[in-house]
């Protein structure tokens, strides 16, 4: 396989963008089909590149000018995250209608996200990730400027923070390559910088951040694409930190801290989900919920935790496509989507979450307490899901944008694929875990295609879930109908102190500078003085500079 | 002795430019300042440079004499601050040239500092194009003479450029603000 082929997953969508633009300018809209070709081409390229060699492939096209070189590499981590991003994006681009301008921005966004994943260095990842973020914001604002979207400042700040971490590596170690930076260079401050970038890039906060807000937009075209391309990038950075740190974070306490944050994110999403006024709001919390569980397990620093996290992210990717295509009405599609989202046994989500919670108990050092909280969060999710079945639909998405059958198929696939959990883990997650957890932290999850072996137990996914699935099919086929009463359902509980914090926040927002001091901070009042060309100001500034250098 | 007189002429000339509003006053001020600056260049053994400065300054003075607000108008009513500026500027320049700095070229330092400082002040404080352009011409000549303070020989290029600026600035058709 020629090393230039590493460019294929990036160049193919870019080529598609060029074709769409050329035809668009000529007045011919070939957006959807070309987008689909470009995105699926990228998926195919990733599959061919990885499956044909199953080892890291690199391409170095030389220096770029800002300290890092154009080093692209496809390894197991890049392959896994590449698929997590490109497959849902390809599904959405193939089905949802878009103008050629929107299609161009969307497919270039996919190329940027794949570049971020393929980048061999931190700075290049920051550049590509920042590009993906910019394009996502452009997509969202173009579609509906009034609808909620991620704060551009937070996204830009996150990628700037990552680039800063990259230049710190370059300045200190002479390289910012994930695989080349000396382990000792991943100090706690630099780790904190990358982690803050990761959390900001994916909106991993306990409160309602953009991955939840986007689903309340009137149209879910740009929302689906943004979540599909941006959300996994933060997790990618967290995984790559293991790569830089030779399989571990600089301090064990950081694992616990981040895992705790993960539980907080999952619990926050669950609490909001159980109080959702309609089904759309509930579904909006699904991806942050998966993200929280993934963060909890990825941060543990154990092979099983990382594998469980990657599996959760893959399912979240599939559900991103599902939720963006799901119509806002009751029915089988919504029911199955909710079941898949909550992790009904024997689905993939069920298996992944069980592995995740088990990994916390087996991590030692009382991290099991975090697993306990994770299990509690899952229970809240179960309550929220049961409640959501009978909730009002919520905002009505345009029919042309929704594909109930496809959404149903995706959701059902994540449940039916439960027995394949072990195979999925062996083929998809294990290589990625092995890639980053090397040296002293080396280890892997055994079990092969049949079972997943943890430290203390074995999950016989294939042999237990196949009969369970068969039993479920028979029982549900035998079961009669049950009338679900669509009704506004009260929240089970509200977050304590929510009103107080809301009042406090409102008071802070309402705070004003007292009238008599307002002129001091009023830029419009200062502006004429500063820009009026007054000689006194020039002389004062000169005097200040003289004082500054002579003191 | 000659250097001191030349430096004094430089200061006197630029002070006249600061104090005068009429074309005659400005022309005389420019001529006197030019003479002082040229004398400094000449006295340091660069006759050609002196001639170039003199030529440029003289041409500018003649052009100023022929155009601009009529009369001398030296020290019109309300020009006390300008007078104080000239005296204070001269004293500061003298203190700097004689006390703060050391080595030869004291006269050059005094002339350059006083001419550059006062012409700059004139340009900043005036709204009248003819006095501003006159001050620009003086400033250009002083900037050229200032190159003598450097280690190596600056050659004739700065002098030629300054002379062209001095004469060219006076030739420039300056319009006042319009309702564009």
């Amino acid at each position: 396989m020629p090393s230039l082929a590493v460019l294929a997953p990036i160049v193919i969508p870019l080529g598609a963008a060029a074709v769409i633009t050329a035809f668009g300018l000529a007045g011919v809209d070939v957006g959807r089909i070309t987008c689909a070709a470009g995105a699926w081409g990228s998926v195919a390229a990733l599959l061919v590149l990885w499956l044909s060699v199953r080892s890291t492939q690199e391409l170095n096209l030389g220096a770029l000018g800002f300290g890092s070189s154009l080093l692209l590499r496809i390894d197991a981590v890049g392959f896994a995250f590449g698929l997590i991003i490109t497959v849902p994006a390809a599904v959405l681009l193939s089905l949802q209608p878009r103008t050629w301008q929107e299609a161009t921005v969307a497919i270039v966004g996919v190329a940027a996200a794949v570049t971020a994943i393929e980048s061999g260095g931190v700075v290049l990842t920051a550049l590509a990730g920042g590009t993906a973020a910019t394009l996502a914001v452009v997509q969202l604002d173009t579609e509906d400027v009034k609808a909620p979207r991620p704060s551009w400042g937070v996204l830009l700040g996150s990628w700037l923070a990552l680039s800063w971490a990259g230049v710190i590596f370059e300045a200190g170690a002479g390289t910012d390559g994930f695989a080349a930076v000396p382990v000792a260079r991943l100090t706690v401050p630099v780790f904190a910088l990358i982690t803050v970038a990761a959390l900001g890039a994916s909106g991993l906060f306990p409160w309602r951040s953009w991955p939840a807000q986007l689903w309340s937009r009137p149209s879910l075209r740009a929302a689906g694409m943004s979540v599909a391309t941006l959300y996994p990038l933060g997790f990618y950075l967290l995984v790559r930190e293991y790569d830089i740190g030779d399989g571990r974070y600089p301090q064990p306490a950081l694992n616990g801290l981040l895992a705790g944050l993960g539980v907080a994110v999952a619990l926050g999403a669950a609490i909001r989900a159980q109080g959702a006024p309609n089904r759309r709001e509930f579904l909006g919390e699904v991806i942050p919920g998966f993200g929280g569980f993934a963060l909890m397990t990825i941060a543990l620093g154990t092979p099983l935790g990382l594998v469980a996290g990657l599996l959760s992210l893959a399912i979240a990717g599939a559900l991103t496509a599902c939720l963006a295509l799901l119509p806002d009405r009751a029915g089988l599609a919504s029911l199955v989507a909710i079941a898949a989202a909550v992790g009904l046994p024997p689905g993939l989500a069920f298996g992944a979450r069980v592995l995740g919670i088990e990994s916390t108990f087996e991590a030692g050092n009382s991290i099991g307490l975090i697993g306990l909280a994770g299990a509690a969060a899952w229970v809240v999710w179960i309550v929220a899901a049961a409640r959501a079945v009978g909730l009002p639909a919520g905002r009505d998405t345009a029919v042309a944008e929704t594909f109930p059958r496809i959404a149903l198929a995706i959701a059902a696939a994540t449940i039916v694929a439960g027995p394949a959990l072990a195979a999925f883990q062996t083929a998809f997650a294990n290589p990625a875990q092995g890639e980053v957890m090397t040296g002293s932290a080396a280890g892997s999850v055994a079990g092969g295609l049949v079972a997943v072996e943890t430290v203390s137990t074995v999950l016989p996914a294939l042999t237990l879930f196949i009969p369970l699935l068969a039993m479920a099919v028979i029982v549900y086929a035998f079961a009669g109908k049950a009338p679900v009463r669509g009704q506004a359902r009260p929240a089970l509980f509200t977050i304590p102190g929510r009103e107080t914090s809301a009042r406090l926040w409102a008071a802070i927002r309402a705070a004003r500078v007292p009238e008599q001091y307002r002129s001091v901070v009023d830029l419009r009042a200062i502006e004429p003085a500063a820009a009026g060309g007054h000689a006194v100001l020039w002389l004062a500034a000169l005097a200040a500079l003289v004082f500054a250098v002579t003191r | 002795m000659i250097a001191a007189v030349a430096a004094f002429l430089g200061w006197l000339g630029v002070s006249i430019i600061v104090l005068a509003d009429g074309r005659r006053g400005l022309a005389v001020g420019l001529a006197v300042a030019t003479t002082g600056l040229a004398a400094i260049a000449w006295q340091e053994g660069d006759g050609v440079a002196a001639l170039i400065v003199m030529g440029g300054g003289a041409a500018a003075a003649v052009l100023r004499y022929r155009a601009g607000p009529g009369g001398w108008v030296v020290m019109p009513p309300g020009s006390t601050p300008r007078l104080i500026l000239c005296v204070a500027g001269g004293l500061v320049a003298l203190w700097f040239a004689a006390s703060v700095t050391i080595g030869p070229d004291g006269a050059t330092r005094f002339a350059v500092l006083s001419v550059v400082g006062l012409s700059g002040a004139r340009i900043v404080s005036s709204r009248e194009p003819s006095s501003v352009v006159t001050a620009v011409a003086t400033l250009a000549l002083a900037a050229a003479v200032a190159t003598r303070l450097g280690a190596g020989s600056p050659g004739l290029v700065p002098y030629v450029a300054a002379a062209l600026i001095a004469a060219g600035a006076l030739l420039l058709p300056v319009r006042v603000a319009d309702a564009f």
Binding site: G65, F66, G67, T131, L156, W538 | G103, A142, D178
Partner: protein
């Protein structure tokens, strides 16, 4: 090729390209010949400034440009338009005197002050802001200094000042430039965000970019200089042409939120993948080598561009025909420079 000229070469090329673009984009009612003549004169002056063998000649060239620019017909009179460039000339000449005469070390520091203040006055940065008349044509407004002549002049002045000052004075100059840079960064972004007049907002946004450039120059490491160069290039062939493209919409009070407006906002904000982002990365790299708290302040300050840029992007309205083409070229060029700045940096460091 003299290294001083080489340093300015990317800026001269960018300026020439910007001029060409301005001529192409200018609406029919403005005489393209006049624009070309004025721009060409300015460009010639910039070449003279870049090629001047000494700082003395550079100052004289600056004076010539100042006089010629002030003599152009406009809403503000000749003398007031000439004021600030002359202040710059006076300060730089005084700095030259201080740097050359024998005396205490203090003189060298005063020379550094003169260079820093003169540079700010030449470009029109806080506290030496050139008075802006929003109704003036761009060719006769201070934008010429801050967006066209200034970048070359500032680069040339600082390149030549290097050999003039002692080591300590050079360090002081760097510190002053960083200080002025931070002040202009803060002022430029906040004032551009809050200003009532969009034309003024554009003008202040130039100052914000200049703040970053000054910080880059002040860092006195190669990465800082490279960052400053990239920012100046993005000013000359990014912000300036986009401002020109927005003039008509500004006059007609148009505003739009189309993809092109958002892309322009991204270019102005220094988002990836545009030139501003690469410049910011280099700046952070340079600042990290000097002191990490400075890098932290810079990183935080860089976020202030977003609200301003969104506002300015909207003022572009809905460009059509030539203007749309021009804006597209600017966006593409900025993306190319942002992704692959090496050729420009190599050209400058020859």
């Amino acid at each position: 090729m003299p290294s001083d000229l080489a340093t300015c070469l990317p800026l001269l090329i960018a300026a020439a390209a910007a001029l060409g673009l301005a001529v192409v984009m200018s609406p029919a009612r403005i005489s393209r010949t006049a624009l070309l003549a004025r721009g060409g004169t300015g460009l010639a002056g910039m070449v003279a400034i870049a090629g001047a063998p000494s700082l003395d000649l550079l100052v004289l060239a600056l004076l010539v440009l100042a006089v010629l620019h002030a003599s152009l017909p406009g809403k503000r009179d000749f003398s007031s338009r000439l004021q600030m460039p002359v202040v710059a000339v006076v300060l730089i000449v005084l700095a030259l005197v201080f740097a050359r005469v024998q005396g205490p070390e203090l003189l060298q520091r005063l020379a550094a002050v003169g260079i820093a203040a003169g540079l700010a006055a030449c470009v029109g940065l806080l506290p030496y802001i050139h008075v802006l008349e929003p109704e003036d044509m761009v060719a006769v407004s201070p934008t010429v200094w801050i967006g066209f002549v200034g970048p070359v002049a500032a680069t040339a002045i600082l390149v030549r000042a290097r050999g003039l000052l002692s080591l300590d004075a050079g360090t002081d100059l760097g510190a002053m430039l960083v200080g002025l840079g931070l002040v202009n960064m803060l002022w430029g972004t906040l004032a551009a965000w809050r200003a009532e007049s969009s034309t003024r907002a554009w003008h202040y946004s130039f100052m914000a970019d200049w703040g970053l450039a000054l910080c880059g120059f002040g860092l006195t490491v190669a990465d800082g200089q490279a960052a400053a160069l990239l920012i100046l290039v993005s000013i000359v062939f990014g912000r300036l042409p986009l401002y020109l493209a927005s003039r008509q919409a500004l006059r007609e009070n148009q505003s739009a939120d189309r993809p092109i407006n958002l892309m322009v906002a991204a270019v102005l904000a220094g988002s990836a993948p545009f030139a501003g982002f690469a410049a910011r990365v280099l700046l952070l790299r340079g600042a990290t080598q000097m002191s990490w708290p400075l890098a932290l302040v810079l990183a935080a300050g860089m976020l202030l561009w977003l609200p301003v840029s969104l506002r300015l992007g909207r003022t572009l309205g809905q460009p059509r025909g030539r203007q749309a083409l021009g804006v597209g070229i600017v966006i593409a060029a900025n993306a190319v420079v942002g992704l692959y700045p090496l050729p420009l940096l190599t050209l400058a460091s020859r």
